[in-house]
C-alpha cells in the first residue's frame, strides 16, 4: 500500500511515516516511480511505534525493541550483542517502572472520579 493509505489506516501524518523510516523504525520498498510501498504488517508496526512513543520511549530505543515484537518466533539470537541484551534488560526495567507509575496514577484518578460521582449523586 502507499503512504496515503497507511496514513489513514493508522491515523498518522505522512510526515511521520517518513520520519519513522528515516529513523530506521519502518521499512518500505519502492515502486518503480519512487513511491513507498508498505506491506500489510506495517499497520500494526506503526501503531506499536506510536504507542511506544506516546509512552515516552525515544525512537532510538524503539528501534531496538521492535525486532523482539515484530519477528514472529523467527528470532535472530545471533545478532544480539551483549550490549543490546543489556539495553533490553535495562529498558524492560524502565517499562516496568513506567507501568507501575501509570497504574498508581490511574488508580488515583479513578478514586477521584468515583468520589466526584458520589458527590454529584448526593447533590442531585
Amino acid at each position: 500500500m502507499r503512504i496515503g493509505e497507511l496514513s489513514e489506516r493508522t491515523g498518522t501524518p505522512r510526515r511521520l511515516l517518513r520520519y519513522y523510516e528515516e529513523q530506521g523504525l519502518l521499512v518500505a520498498s519502492r515502486a518503480p516511480n519512487g513511491y513507498r510501498d508498505y506491506s500489510e504488517g506495517c499497520v500494526n508496526r506503526v501503531l506499536q511505534i506510536r504507542g511506544l512513543l506516546d509512552s515516552g520511549l525515544p525512537t532510538r530505543i524503539i528501534k531496538q525493541i521492535l525486532p523482539c515484537i515484530n519477528d514472529p518466533r523467527a528470532i535472530h539470537v545471533s545478532d544480539a550483542t551483549p550490549e543490546t541484551i543489556a539495553t533490553l534488560e535495562n529498558e524492560r526495567q524502565r517499562m516496568t517502572d513506567r507501568i507501575e507509575c501509570l497504574l498508581r496514577s490511574r488508580e488515583a484518578i479513578s478514586g477521584y472520579l468515583d468520589a466526584v460521582r458520589r458527590e454529584s449523586a448526593v447533590a442531585a
Copy 2:
C-alpha cells in the same frame, strides 16, 4: 528542606525543580532570604512527576492529575469543573492504552530475552 537536598533525594537537577514549580506542579514556600523551602511530601511528589513525565505525559496534564494523587482523601470535588472531569476521564483512558502497550512490549522483550538465554545455554 532547601532545593539542594530535594535535588539529591530525588535525583533531579535543581533546574528542573524550578521548572516544575514554574509549571505549577510543585509549590515551595520561601524562607526570609528568598530560598525555596520544600515540605517533606515534595520528595514523593517529585518522583511522581518524573515518573509521569517519563511516561509521556506533559506537565499540563500532570498538573491536573496531581491533585487526585496528592490530596489524601481531602478531595475538593467542588472545584472540579465538568471540563476537568472530562480531561481526567480522557487521560485515564490514554493511560490505560499506554499501560497495555507497555505490557505487550515488555512481554515481547521478556520472550526475546528468554530465547537468547536458552540459546546461550545451549551454546555453553
